[in-house]
């Protein structure tokens, strides 16, 4: 449960990073969203032994991180979150796919190991593409872009509200857990028999808060018929950046 404060910190750290003023931050959100998605689809489309063909894609995270002046430590800790399930699937390949793929000196490398390396590299590239997107695009710009993609207003509003209230409610949970721990001696987690009142109280307080939030929003003129801000036009630099990401990704996929 100590990771609640870590999660609050992580959420704020990424949001703070997204307000930077580097060349990547200034790009149109459309460019960043499309290039991240294209990269993920291309990376996922490689075969299970295509480790070598995937390596050139590492230019994307390395160059983007440097240009956007982002810290590696924060990103690597996020990559580790995605690791367990991929490692589980990859290790099963090591066990079941034992034929020798290649030898380097006296060391034989099996197809299973090669596929494990491929899965881990794919995981790293995909996670980094998504993280780079949110670390260089402020959240309001992201939601405006979703509206431009004709995502329904209702869903964009739910998405925005959820994001805004995660921080608030995590702090509330953190305070409740601290209070519980102070009253229960050396316990590190909550007893099953206390979960009903613990989470139930959180729920009821959350619903009360939602009512107050809704009234406050209405007072400030909130309506579902709210018109999104006028979109910024794509500049030449945006088109150039999109080409610079998508074209090499396409060539590496089909001509290598």
């Amino acid at each position: 449960m100590s990771d609640i404060s870590a999660r609050i910190h992580e959420l704020r750290a990424l949001e703070n990073l997204s307000t930077g003023r580097t060349v990547i931050h200034r790009l149109h959100p459309f460019v960043k969203l499309v290039s991240a998605f294209v990269l993920i689809v291309f990376v996922a489309s490689f075969g299970r032994y295509d480790f070598v063909r995937l390596v050139p894609y590492l230019f994307y995270p390395f160059v983007m991180m440097a240009l956007a002046e982002l810290p590696y430590k924060l990103f690597l800790s996020r990559v580790l979150i995605a690791l367990p399930f991929c490692l589980f699937a990859g290790l099963s390949n090591v066990i079941f796919d034992r034929a020798t793929a290649l030898s380097i000196g006296d060391v034989a490398i099996s197809y299973g190991v090669l596929s494990l390396m491929t899965i881990l590299l794919k995981m790293y590239l995909c996670v980094m593409a998504a993280l780079l997107l949110v670390a260089t695009t402020p959240f309001p710009e992201l939601t405006v872009q979703l509206r431009r993609f004709h995502v329904p207003m209702v869903f964009v509003m739910v998405f925005e509200m959820t994001f805004r209230y995660i921080g608030v409610l995590l702090e509330e949970v953190h305070a409740m857990i601290t209070a519980y721990k102070l009253r229960s001696g050396t316990k590190k987690t909550i007893d099953m028999r206390h979960m009903g009142s613990f989470l139930g109280q959180l729920l009821l307080r959350g619903f009360d808060r939602a009512e107050r939030v809704h009234r406050a929003m209405r007072c400030r003129g909130y309506s579902l018929r709210h018109i999104p801000p006028a979109p910024r036009q794509l500049r030449h630099s945006d088109v150039l950046a999109l080409t610079a990401v998508c074209l090499p990704a396409l060539l590496l996929r089909f001509l290598s």
Binding site: P56, V63, F85, C126, A130, T189, D191
Partner: protein
């Protein structure tokens, strides 16, 4: 239970994304029809954030020494109704994917299907609500919660197995994978079901109108039979047709691009799965590639007998590319730092 991009084929990932987008679209249309939709949106947003916060609260699973946390699909459906709960869970999953690296953009469709659509739009209307049809009481609420959560979680885990195997990334046999996934999710499901039951009973005791009003709402404007038939068809499509496509033709994207280029350029060369450079644009691109290649014998997987290509030279090449990419990043950082230092002076 979050699926990752690395374990998914693009064909299946995109198909599941399309399916989830369609489900979100239908749910939004349903919520918009409701007169109270404007009032519901803040509640749905806060409820989504609450589920996220609740997932941070670990509870001790008795006699196991381990701990678990709540998933929240059935709990939210019990409080808000199936459709609003589905939208809230979808929003939470998108945030988890983007900001916390839980799941991935390509796998988002699978995760929304497994953890949102199954509990909120299938289990809730077909199991949870019918169990409470004859009135709400603590016993009925508890029974409905435990049964719904366990079945929902097991069905979700089963779909994870199907989706992973259909993508052809892992060598794990179907039966072994299933034997690993289902029992562990049964234990987790029982614990989560119990917690969902006690939370719903607590809310029912303190504020019964919340549960009563969610039960009085219609979940979807279609019959249960239609839902079942549609889901059966979708499962067959995703699990059968797409898995065949994924396993026999892993380069489906290449195939699609080949077809597209054939249409555009009208050459036979475009039909070659490897886009073999024979004439025109491909010849020029290939000759450019030959000129710029720094390891001319750096061959990749083109021979089916040796899917790893020419391995040792390939790995050495990969190591050089890795170092080169890292050095490029470092160089850019250094240049930017020195420029900044110069600006300060």
């Amino acid at each position: 239970m979050h699926m990752a991009d690395a374990l998914l084929s693009p064909a299946l990932g995109l198909a599941m994304n399309a399916l989830s987008v369609a489900a979100i679209g239908a749910s939004v249309a349903k919520v918009e029809k409701d007169e109270l939709s404007e009032k519901k949106i803040p509640i749905m947003g806060v409820a989504g954030a609450m589920i996220f916060a609740m997932q941070m609260v670990n509870f001790t699973i008795p006699a196991t020494g381990s701990s678990g946390h709540i998933g929240g699909g059935i709990l939210l459906a019990g409080l808000l109704g199936g459709v609003p709960a589905f939208l809230s869970i979808a929003a939470v999953l998108i945030i988890q994917c983007l900001f916390f690296a839980d799941g991935g953009l390509l796998a988002l469709g699978c995760n929304i299907f497994n953890m949102g659509l199954i509990p909120c739009l299938v289990i809730y209307p077909l199991i949870f609500k019918p169990l409470l049809k004859n009135g709400i009481g603590y016993k009925r609420l508890s029974l409905a919660s435990v049964i719904s959560v366990v079945i929902g979680l097991e069905l979700g885990a089963f779909c994870v197995v199907l989706q992973t195997l259909a993508s052809g990334i892992t060598e794990l046999p179907f039966s072994t994978f299933l034997a690993l996934m289902l029992p562990i999710h049964l234990v987790i499901g029982l614990a989560e079901g119990f917690v969902t039951a006690v939370v719903l009973c607590f809310v029912y005791k303190m504020s019964p109108d919340i549960i009563d009003s969610s039960q009085s709402r219609q979940c979807l404007n279609v019959s249960a039979k239609k839902v079942l038939v549609t889901l059966a068809l979708l499962t067959v499509t995703a699990g059968g047709v797409l898995s065949l496509f994924a396993s026999t033709n892993p380069d489906g994207l290449e195939w699609a691009i080949g077809k597209t280029t054939q249409k555009v350029f009208g050459t036979e060369a475009a039909l070659d799965p490897g886009l073999s450079p024979e004439e025109g644009l491909f010849e020029s691109a290939a000759s450019l590639q030959k000129k710029t290649a720094f390891l001319p014998n750096y061959t990749f997987a083109s021979n089916p007998d040796n899917p790893a290509g020419t391995p040792a030279s390939g790995l050495i090449g990969a190591a050089i590319v890795f170092a080169f990419a890292g050095m490029t990043g470092l160089l850019i950082s250094k240049v930017k730092r020195s420029k900044k230092a110069g600006a300060h002076v």
